[in-house]
Structures are given as structure tokens and as C-alpha cells.
């Protein structure tokens, strides 16, 4: 399972970077979406895959029993998903505005540092 997820993370990163390098701005958005997914899945996977109970300490105990799933990576992923959602929503609106202003979705038409 770990190997499958690791390969999936790698595949997501590769796809994301490939899409971001394309000239089409809509593909840039898809690349950014996949990049976020890759990072989230990486955190989730690296945080340790265990089939275990919830990290709840029984009454009177200072710490939960051994062998519980670590809740922190999941909390991180949850936060990152929310932030990523907002960011992608903004990026989508931005690309729409850019396409309307420039009349094309080819990022080679951008005048940048020249």
C-alpha cells in the first residue's frame, strides 16, 4: 500500500509539473490543482499509514494508548485542502480574466521581463 501511494505521489508531481510547463493557461490551473493534491497525499503518506484507532485518551489517562493514528498530518492536510481550494478558485478567476483581457490562453503571449 505504501509503495502504491508513493508511486501515486510521484505520478501526481510529474503530471502537475508537466501541465504547468504547457503553454495553455487552463492546463496551468490543472497543474496547480494536482500539485496541491500531490503535496497533501505526500503528507498523509509520510505521516504513517496505520490501521489503528482514533487518538482518544481514555478518561483518567494522560495519553492515548500506543498504536493510534497520528492526527496531526490529517489536520495539516485538512487545512491545506481548504487553503488550496481558495487559492485554486482565485487562480481560475484570474485565468478567466487574463484570457478575456488578452484574447488568448497561450502563456507565450505574456510580456514578462523583456
Amino acid at each position: 500500500m505504501l509503495l502504491v501511494l508513493a508511486l501515486l505521489v510521484g505520478l501526481l508531481y510529474a503530471t502537475a509539473l508537466y501541465l504547468m510547463l504547457r503553454r495553455n493557461m487552463v492546463k496551468l490551473i490543472f497543474g496547480l490543482v494536482l500539485l496541491g493534491h500531490a503535496a497533501n497525499l505526500l503528507i498523509f503518506t509520510a505521516g504513517g499509514l496505520v490501521r489503528a484507532g482514533a487518538p482518544v485518551a481514555a478518561e483518567g489517562m494522560a495519553a492515548p494508548p500506543a498504536g493510534v493514528a497520528d492526527p496531526v498530518p490529517q489536520a495539516l492536510v485538512l487545512t491545506a485542502i481548504v487553503i488550496g481550494f481558495a487559492v485554486v478558485a482565485f487562480a481560475a478567476v484570474l485565468v478567466r480574466r487574463v484570457v478575456r483581457t488578452l484574447g488568448t490562453d497561450d502563456s507565450d503571449t505574456l510580456r514578462t521581463t523583456g
Partner: protein, 507 residues
């Protein structure tokens, strides 16, 4: 009491943004709230600074969870220097924005966004938690995205897309690196990491080096390090001047601060980090000034010089790999001094670019001229930060460059010192170019009538120029502050004590 003091620099911009949002239909109220909020933010930051330098570092645990479990906010000398300087820029630019940003943009959420940006910046300086640093970066980035695109002019759209794409790439790498750090060290508290990460690095040096590399790239993009700076000159000249001035002053410096805070504390035992930073710093200095040579738009020239100046700061950080304790201390103090000086000077130069545009109707150097005779006061105000940027004594930039060069010489890095001196000379060339084209050469035949500059545009520029002169004439005070900030970085135990994590192995 101190809990409140630490959180105030973050809380004040948040409340201000909310109030400005509530008054979104009424522009005069928004303006009053925006400027007053920035003033209160400056007062809060100054109070925190006074407390830290007279009583000692303070920290607070959000939600009452003690470190390393909860999120901590830490005000140590380094953080507080950044907080005070940033709050000062926030106030100066807020005053300037009242008269500079056009009414449509001011109505369309400029004021709430400006303060959300400040909140993200101050949060990034004060946080003692790696994931919280990521969140603060995102708060700052979201606000900066919208500020950059607000108005929707064609150049803004073009710049914003590059800016957004590269900064989101940086955020994704940062997030992945944070996840990997947690997976190995089981903590995200920076003070706790300073104990645990060296243990992990001893066991798995390759993995830790790879994670350090991810952080270097992520922070390098934010800071505008060579070769990751393409987003900066593509976007900084496009929004209203007040927006690009606050960006120029603060955003890249948050990246530099993140390098300065995280790298020595967490990856201090990975020497390759500092070797890479040394090369990147020298290439950044040179690439930045060379990029400026071909530019004839005032803000584009200045944008390339931000990059070049970042190189000087990072050179200071790279020198902490030196075996000599004296060099390390001087290099880091030089870096902190440089950051503080640079934020003031660079923000001011952007504000002056706005004055040049206001007076002559354009900021394209080819089409303007004659400002030295038409507006001698502006010429004087330009010369102070411009010469300071180039490192002419007795202005603040001279002492900043002198300290960096001195540290480089003490470390016997002749080629790095040579790069710094060449970059300094070429900076002067650029400043002379702006002087010759905008101020000295005769005004073009078809010149538009000279615009007028209302006092909200002039007062912040004059105040920042005065600060530059004061730092230049009495550098000892800032140097003492910078040295104490450097001591805090060099001694992780001091940082752990500031966080209140005495054992350092909690959990």
C-alpha cells in the same frame, strides 16, 4: 499582559481589515480606518519592540496549549526588528495610498486587502511553528494576489499570472517539505525542531538534505533568489505604486526572514545548505544588477535591484558556515542591519517612483526629464535613498554594505566580496541612470504640464528619507539591535528559552 502584546501586531491588522470591510460602501470611512489601523499597528509593534529590548523576549501559546503542542507566537529580537520595520512601512504606505491609489481600486477592497497583507507578514515574523508559517505565507499571498490583480489592467493581468503560478509552486513545495519534517521529527514547533532535527539528520542525512533542499527552493522563490526570481520583475511594476512599494519592501524580505529563521535553527547541521546559499547569493547580486541595466522603466529598474540586494542579505546568512564565531556574529548582524535598511530604502524608492510618475505623467525614463530644475525637492528626496542603496557614505546603505563586506573579508571569501563590490558599483550606475534620465536631462519638448504632489504623497517619502539619514549618521543603535538579533539566531538555546521550551524534548 505580554500575551496580548505579542498577538497585537497580528490582531490589529485583522480588526482593521474587518472594520474597513464593514465600511466598504463608504470610502472616507475606509480611508480613516485604513490609516488609523496602520498607526495603531505601528504603536503596537513599537510597544512590543520596546518590551523585548528592555525586558526580554516574550512568547505566547495560542489556545493555552503549552509548546511544543500548541502554536506559539514568539517575539525575540530578530522577529521584533522585522515587526517594527514592517509596521512602519505599513503606516507610511497607508498614508501614501490615500492619495495615490485611484478611487475605484480604493473602493474595491484595497484597504481590507492591504491590512490582511500586513497581518500575514507580521504573523510570519512572529510565529514559532513551521506549519503556521505556511498559513501566514498563504494569508499574505492571497492578499497580494488580489492586490496585484485589482483593477485588471492588461499589464497587471500578465504580471499577476506569472506571480501567482510561481508563488503557488513555492507554496506547494513548502507544504510538502513541512509534511516531511513532521513525518521524521514528529513536531512542527521551531524550537523543538532545533533539538530533534539534528538527531534525525545524524540518522538519515540524505533525507534531511533533500528536505532542506525543498525548503531552499520554496523560500528561494519567495525571497527572489537566483535563479528563481522571474516572477518579481514580471509583476512588481504593474500595480498602483502604493501596492508595489509595500510588496517591494516586505514580501521578498519575508522569504529572506524565513531562510534566516528556519535554516540555521532546523538545518544548521547540513553544511551543503550554506554552500548553496553562498553561490546563490553571489549570482543573485550580479544577475539582479545586470538585469537592471537593460531597463528604462523606473519601477522595473528598482525591481531588479530588489533581487540584487537580496543577494547581499543572503550572503550574510551563507557566512554562518564559517568556523570563526566572530565572523558568524558579524555576518548575521550585517544581514539583519541590511534587511532593516533595505526595507526602508526600497519602499521609499518605489514611493518616489510614484512621485516621478505623478509629476511627469510617466515612469518611462525615455519620455521624461527636467525634474531637477522643475522639482528640486524631489531630486533631493530621490538622492538620499538612491545613494544609500548604492552604499555611499554616510547613508545607511554604506554601513550595511560595509558590514557584509567586512564579514566576507574576515571569512577570506575574496570572490564573494568582489561580487558584492561589483554589484554595488553597478547599483550606482543604475541610480545615476535614473538621475540622468528623469532629473538631469532637459524635459522633452512635448512634456505634459507638471503634476502636483499632495502632502500625503510627500510626507511618507520625507519621513523615510529622514530615517535613512538618521541610520546613516548614528548606525550604532541599529547595529546593536542587529547584533542582539544575530545572537538570538546563533544560539538556538536562547530561542528555545524565549519559546519557554526549556527541556526541548517535550512529547
Amino acid at each position: 499582559m505580554t500575551d496580548v502584546l505579542v498577538i497585537l501586531p497580528v490582531l490589529v491588522p485583522l480588526v482593521t481589515a474587518a472594520l474597513a470591510m464593514a465600511a466598504w460602501k463608504h470610502l472616507p470611512t475606509q480611508r480613516v480606518v485604513g490609516v488609523a489601523g496602520a498607526a495603531v499597528g505601528l504603536a503596537a509593534a513599537t510597544a512590543l519592540g520596546w518590551w523585548v529590548f528592555t525586558v526580554g523576549p516574550v512568547s505566547t501559546a495560542a489556545g493555552g496549549w503549552p509548546p511544543p503542542f500548541g502554536i506559539t507566537l514568539v517575539a525575540d529580537p530578530l522577529a521584533v526588528v522585522m515587526v517594527v520595520v514592517s509596521a512602519l512601512m505599513g503606516f507610511a504606505v497607508a498614508v501614501y495610498a490615500v492619495a495615490e491609489v485611484d478611487e475605484v481600486r480604493q473602493r474595491d477592497t484595497f484597504w481590507p486587502l492591504f491590512h490582511v497583507l500586513l497581518m500575514g507578514v507580521q504573523g510570519a515574523f512572529l510565529t514559532g511553528d513551521l506549519f503556521n508559517l505556511y498559513v501566514c505565507f498563504e494569508v499574505m499571498l492571497m492578499a497580494s494576489f488580489v492586490l496585484l490583480a485589482l483593477g485588471g489592467d492588461r499589464p497587471q493581468m500578465e504580471g499577476a499570472l506569472t506571480y501567482v503560478a510561481l508563488n503557488l509552486l513555492s507554496s506547494a513545495l513548502f507544504l510538502a517539505a513541512v509534511g516531511l519534517v513532521y513525518a521524521k521529527a514528529h513536531t512542527l514547533n521551531l524550537a523543538d525542531l532545533s533539538v530533534r532535527m539534528p538527531l534525525v539528520a545524524a540518522q538519515e542525512p540524505t533525507l534531511v538534505a533533500a528536505v532542506a533542499g525543498l525548503f531552499l527552493v520554496a523560500f528561494g522563490i519567495k525571497a527572489g533568489l537566483f535563479p528563481l526570481y522571474a516572477w518579481l520583475p514580471a509583476s512588481y511594476h504593474t500595480p498602483p505604486v502604493a501596492v508595489s512599494a509595500i510588496f517591494a519592501g516586505l514580501l521578498t524580505k519575508v522569504g529572506v526572514y524565513a531562510l534566516l529563521r528556519v535554516m540555521p535553527l532546523v538545518f544548521g547541521t547540513v553544511p551543503a545548505v550554506f554552500t548553496i546559499l553562498l553561490w546563490a547569493a553571489c549570482l543573485t547580486m550580479i544577475a539582479g544588477v545586470l538585469g537592471a541595466v537593460a531597463q528604462f522603466n523606473v519601477r522595473r529598474v528598482l525591481s531588479f535591484h530588489i533581487i540584487s540586494q537580496i543577494g547581499y542579505m543572503v550572503l550574510g546568512l551563507a557566512l554562518i558556515a564559517s568556523p570563526d564565531a566572530g565572523v558568524r556574529r558579524l555576518a548575521l548582524a550585517a544581514m539583519v542591519f541590511y534587511i532593516a535598511h533595505h526595507i526602508v530604502v526600497k519602499t521609499n524608492l518605489f514611493l518616489i517612483a510614484g512621485l516621478i510618475r505623478r509629476l511627469s505623467g510617466s515612469e518611462e525614463l525615455k519620455g521624461i526629464g527636467g525634474l531637477a530644475s522643475a522639482a528640486p525637492w524631489l531630486a533631493a528626496l530621490f538622492l538620499i535613498p538612491a545613494l544609500s542603496l548604492a552604499g555611499i557614505p554616510p547613508l545607511s546603505g554604506f554601513w550595511a554594505k560595509l558590514a557584509v563586506v567586512r564579514a566576507g573579508l574576515d571569512a577570506s571569501l575574496w570572490w564573494a566580496v568582489a561580487a558584492a563590490l561589483v554589484a554595488g558599483l553597478l547599483t550606482l550606475v543604475s541610480m545615476v541612470k535614473i538621475w540622468n534620465e528623469a532629473f538631469w536631462k532637459a524635459a522633452p519638448e512635448d512634456r505634459v504640464p507638471l503634476g502636483i504632489a499632495p502632502w500625503p504623497l510627500v510626507a511618507p517619502v520625507a519621513a523615510l528619507a529622514l530615517i535613512t539619514v538618521v541610520i546613516g549618521l548614528w548606525p550604532e543603535l541599529l547595529m546593536r539591535i542587529a547584533t542582539s538579533a544575530a545572537d538570538g539566531v546563533l544560539d538556538p538555546a536562547a530561542y528555545r528559552a524565549a519559546v519557554g521550551l526549556v527541556t526541548g524534548t517535550g512529547g
